[in-house]
Each structure stands twice: as C-alpha cells, then as structure tokens.
C-alpha cells in the first residue's frame, strides 16, 4: 500500500479481513462449513494448541469465515480484534464471564434491553455476581455505586427503548478512576453511528442479529476489544494477569500487552461455554455489513421523517427520539451521535392499553414481532413482550409505560411508512370512541 492512506469506513465494510481466496480465486468470502482443520504434523497440532502458531483447530474456537467477520468488526469499531458468538446475549455473557467470577460486582445502566436486564438482575446473581443499576444520565450515581469488588461498568450506547444516550466519556472516566473497564452494547447504533472506543469505552459488543446482519435472518453476536484497558495496572483482574492453570499456565497480560481479554475469552470462554457462531451465520452477517453504510443512511433518513410525522400528531403524547429537542438526550446525541441516534425508538399514544393493541393490529407494513434493526419496519409493545418480566418500578426506570409503542424503522419508502402509521393512529382513536 504505497503512500499514506487509511481506508475509510465504507471500504473497510467491504474489504477488511477478506481477500480473494488464494486457492480458488473466489472473490466473495467462502463459507467454511467444517468442524475441524487438518494438522500438518503432530508438531503443528501441538503448536496450535499451545498458542505457538496461529491457525484454526476446531470451529467452536475459531473458523476462517468467522475470522473475516471478526476482523471486519474490529476494523469498523477501531478495535484490535473481535470474537464472534452465538448471539448478543452470548457476547454479554462471554464478556462478563471472562472478567469475573462469584463475588464480583457490576455497575450497569437501568436503560437496558430486557434480556440483558434479566441476565444481570436474575441469572448472574444466582452465580454470585451482583449488579447495581443506575440511571444512565445520573453521573454521580455511577461513581457512588462503585464497590471494592466492582469489575465492570456496563451500558447501551442508546438505552432500549427510551434512547437515553450514554455519556460514554463521562462514564468511562469514572470507570477508569475505579480501575474497571466500560463495556458498551452498541447494537442499536452500529459503528456507523458511533465508535464507542473513540469516546472512552474499552469493550463493545453487538447483537449482530440487528443492524449488522440487517435482514432479520440470523442470530449472532460479537464482542470487540479496544485494546486500551490496562488489565495489569488495574490490579483487579487476576483472571488475566496471573498464571491460568486452565490454559498452559498462561499469563494473558504477558502474552499480549493489549490483547489479554481476547486471548482468555477465546481460549476459555468459547472453549468451555461453547456459545460459538455458525460459519454460515457469519457469512450472512458479512453480507449485511457490506451494505451497512448504505442501509444506516437510509434508516436514519427514514427515521427522521417518521419522527417528525409522529411528533406532529395530536393523538401522540410523546416521541422518544433524541432528534427532538424535548428528548433529555438531545444535546448529548448531537455531540456523540452526529449521524443520528438510531432508528429504534418509542412513542406513547394518548390512549389506553386496548387502543395500543388496536394501533399495532391496524398496521400493515410494520411487522409485529420481537426484533429490531431489520430492513423491514417493525413494531412491538415492550411492556407485554420484551420487558414483561420487569416490575412497574423497573419499567419506569427504563422509561417505559403500559402505553409505550416501540418502532424499528426500516428501509421502505418513507411515505408508505407514514401512511401506514396514519391508518393505525386512526384505528386507535376509533377504538377509544
């Protein structure tokens, strides 16, 4: 590569991690549907197992197709490497399980996807990992929640579904004062809208099911390491800085000054918990990522039109998107998310629960289902679906009421989306008559 040039985002979305196949000349990324890889010799086998040589052994640990996806995500996020896993939830679990065990503590935002809230509030407590939840915008609360056994700060770039923008610079500064990393779920924003590492985050994960895949076809996740957190200097992560009996007595921080987290996550977490991604899934997500910049631009332009429409409707009491000055995160979104704060947002109808149901059932283009980030527009009622396990108090903490409707704006003609919403709003009004 002669001269000083650094490929831009759109180029990386197409090329990072992939080159024409040296054996066949195939231009597209081949799908390596194989469980395992033949060793050249006994010495080669031993060297691969002992991390003396790079290569693939078994597709639970690594796979060439998955590796392209992992490199591409690391490139797009500005990280050092990534690990593909079975789902976004697996990415969160892998991150937590790599960094801590029983007796540890997490400080997390209240504005989380319901599945993440379940994992932290219920499941991880059963394994001795406690979480303190704080409102993402209450910066002092993050600081006050720190305990001697705190190992991780965790939040979403834009909280689901209220779109509270996480003040990553402020929260990461507090995390770093406490000697712990900030893990950010960037599913709803994708690296096209924000690169959390540039603002101070240390680890980023995605449910790749959503915007990265973009077509509602596969479940997948990925965790990316920014390589900036000094695990050894922190003194809190013996998992990474002390010899590990479970993997050749390796001291991961000595092995790699910047990649200790990824080493342990792959060599222990994927190996033992086994939440790996199918190479076929990785390939489908790669197809999505190739058009991520184009899709995200359309998602955002469509969202802007829909938000403006809904904000003008008398039967709508609130539109929760930071595009609007009324949104509490408006100023922060302009600073951290200049391309927009995503296309998943909620709004409240001036009506009761029955009118909410009538609204959803009258929609024809919007699909009523439990997903976001599809190329098709989606709708759901969070209180009875994604967040139904949460108490009223927890719901309120996450900015959700019984009448909240969540939309995921797709790539359709925006006029058709607005027409669909108009029809549904009329149906909801009639249902209350």
């Amino acid at each position: 590569m002669p001269g000083y040039s650094d490929p831009g985002f759109d180029t990386l979305a197409l090329h990072a991690g992939a080159a024409p196949d040296p054996t066949t000349g195939a231009r597209a990324v081949p799908i390596h549907l194989t469980t395992s890889f033949v060793f050249e010799s006994s010495d080669h086998a031993a060297a691969l197992f002992n991390l003396e040589r790079a290569g693939h052994v078994y597709s639970r640990i690594s796979n060439p197709t998955n590796a392209v996806f992992e490199q591409r995500m690391a490139a797009l996020e500005g990280g050092i490497g990534a690990i593909a896993v079975a789902s976004g939830q697996a990415a969160l679990h892998l991150s937590v399980a790599t960094l801590m065990g029983a007796g540890s503590h997490i400080v997390a935002s209240t504005a989380l996807y319901g599945g993440s809230q379940n994992l932290l509030h219920y499941t991880l407590r059963r394994f001795g990992i406690d979480t303190t939840f704080v409102k993402p915008g209450d910066i002092d609360a993050w600081r006050k929640a720190v305990r001697p056994n705190t190992k991780l700060f965790f939040g979403e770039t834009v909280g689901n579904p209220g779109l509270d923008v996480l003040d990553i610079p402020a929260v990461s500064a507090i995390a770093h004062e406490a000697g712990v990393p900030l893990l950010v779920d960037s599913t709803l924003t994708s690296p096209w809208l924000i690169k959390p590492f540039e603002h101070g985050a240390d680890l980023v994960y995605h449910s790749a099911t959503k915007f990265l895949s973009g077509h509602g076809t596969v479940i997948g996740g990925v965790v990316v390491d920014g390589g900036s957190f000094d695990w050894e200097a922190s003194g809190k992560f013996s998992e990474l800085s002390q010899a590990y009996d479970g993997f050749h007595n390796m001291v991961f921080t000595e092995e790699s000054t910047v990649g200790a987290f990824l080493l342990r996550a792959r060599r222990e977490g994927l190996r033992d918990f086994g939440a790996c991604m199918s190479p076929h899934t990785a390939w489908l997500i790669l197809q999505g990522i190739e058009t991520l910049p184009l899709r995200m631009a359309r998602h955002m332009s469509n969202t802007e039109k829909v938000v403006q429409f809904l904000a003008s409707q008398p039967f709508v009491s609130r539109v929760g998107h930071p595009l609007l000055e009324s949104h509490p995160s408006h100023a922060l979104a302009r600073k951290l998310l200049p391309r927009g704060a995503g296309s998943v947002f909620s709004f409240d109808l001036k009506g009761n629960r029955e009118q909410g149901k009538a609204f959803i059932e009258a929609l024809k283009l919007f699909s009523h289902l439990a997903n976001v980030g599809d190329c098709r527009s989606l709708v759901i009622h969070p209180a009875s679906t994604t967040h139904f396990r949460m108490s009223d108090e927890a719901l309120a903490g996450a900015g959700i009421t019984q009448g909240t409707i969540r939309l995921s704006i797709g790539l359709e003609d925006p006029d058709d989306l607005i027409e669909d919403l108009k029809r549904a709003l009329k149906a909801a009004e009639k249902a209350g008559a």
Binding site: M1, A16, L51, G78, G81, E255, G259, L262
Partner: protein, 273 residues
Amino acid sequence: MMKLTVNGAPTYCYTGGKAFDPAKPTVVMIHGVLNDHSVWILQSRYLAHHGWNVLAVDLPGHCRSGGEAPESVEEAAAFIAALLDAAGVQRAALVGHSWGSLIALEAAARLKDRVSHLVLVGTAYPMKVSQALLDASLKEPETALKMINVYSRSTLAAPPSALGPGTWVYGASLALGRRVLASNRSVNVFHRGFQACDRYANGEQAIAHISCPVLFLLGAQDQMTQPKAAQGLIARARESGKKVEVVNLPVGHHQMTEIPDETLAAIRDFLRR
C-alpha cells in the same frame, strides 16, 4: 518470564512460557520503536517450546522495563550485552525487528563470538526517518502512529495472525503503540527511538565485524524499511565474507504479526543451521 536487573534497572524478559534453562541455547528477541516483547508472541512461544531459551526483552524505559530509554543504537547494544551478563548467558542468537535489528547488529559486532546467529527482520541501513515523521512523532504522536501503521501494513486481510484468528493487526499495532508511548511519562520513546534509528551510522562497520551467520528477513511490500534499503548492508556483509541468507516475505513491516508462520519458519530454520 524473567525479571533481571540490568545496569541497575529492572528489566523484563518474556520467556515464551518456559523457565530459563542454562543448558539450552538462548535467543534474544529485540523489538522496534513503540513496540514491546509481545510483538514476538508466536515466534517466542514456539522457540521456547522447541529447545531454546527465549529472552524477548522490553527495552529500557519501555512498558515493563525500567531505566532510561536508549538514546542511540550503540547505547541499546550495550544494554543487550549487559542483559546477557545479567542473565548469565555466555552465547546467544540475536533477533531484532526494525530499530531492534540495528540494535542486534551493533550488539553482534561488539559481542563477536558470544553471538551465534544474527537475524535482522525488517531492516534497512541507513534507517533514515523523514524530518516530517520525526517532528510528528514528537508533536503529534497519534498522527505519526497512524502514519507508520499504514506504511507498515501490506493487507486488509491478514491470514490467521498474532494474536490468532480474529485479530485486526492494524488496530492491535495502534493500541500497542499507544500503550508503549504511555508507559514512559518522562520520555517520548517514539521520538527517541526514531532519532536513534535516524542517527545510527555504524551499520556497515558493524556488519563487517560480526562473527556469525546473518539472516535478512525482509518484507517485499514493506514501506517502512523497503527491501532495497537493506541491499547495501547485504552487499557489505557478503563482501566481508559473512555467511548471509536473505528471505523476502510477501508482507509489509508487520512481519511477525501479519504472517507469523512464515516469519517463524525462516527464523527457526536459520537458527537450526
């Protein structure tokens, strides 16, 4: 790993996951500017598990090693000699990358028979650094760091690379550079290392004074130390009657991380001879 005291300063050496064994031959691996021992992660670990002692050192003032960061190649070469003494190593192979290759060369000339093999990875002589890059390394290190990483990269699609599958070598190199720079709060080791490369003027004399075989391990697409910039040194070595091997790898300046297997094979095969 080994923690030694060299010239009164704590010195860190990664040993590839094996304890130091005085009965085995020793390889000293010397990193380049804004790097540390971890750039040798795969090669060092392999050699340590295949009959060698490995001392992959963090140079003084870099990451885990204390002491004053070397101001010149000669100063760093004297440190390598002191390191061997501190470790009780009578004879060793020296493997250096980029700036580290100049340090290894100068040390080999001084240590003569105490050096069994010399491996110069991504080397050039003279290793001139443009004034613009020197200035940027001092005044705008982040910009300079990105520049050298772009110059060092040969591909957007490295095969399974150090650390292993899923590693984005470009990002990993940036992160390591930032970490090394931040590890020394009193000296800009980026600028100091580049100055040492730029000012080193003893390369041709040094190659004539070594008493061991030498391997030039070059990257055909290397924009930092272009292969043509090593030809003078190669010619001087041959003129001086040295046993010279040259291997050109299809890679840029990140030889050890972009194509670790081929880099290891070249080093391993040379050390076995």
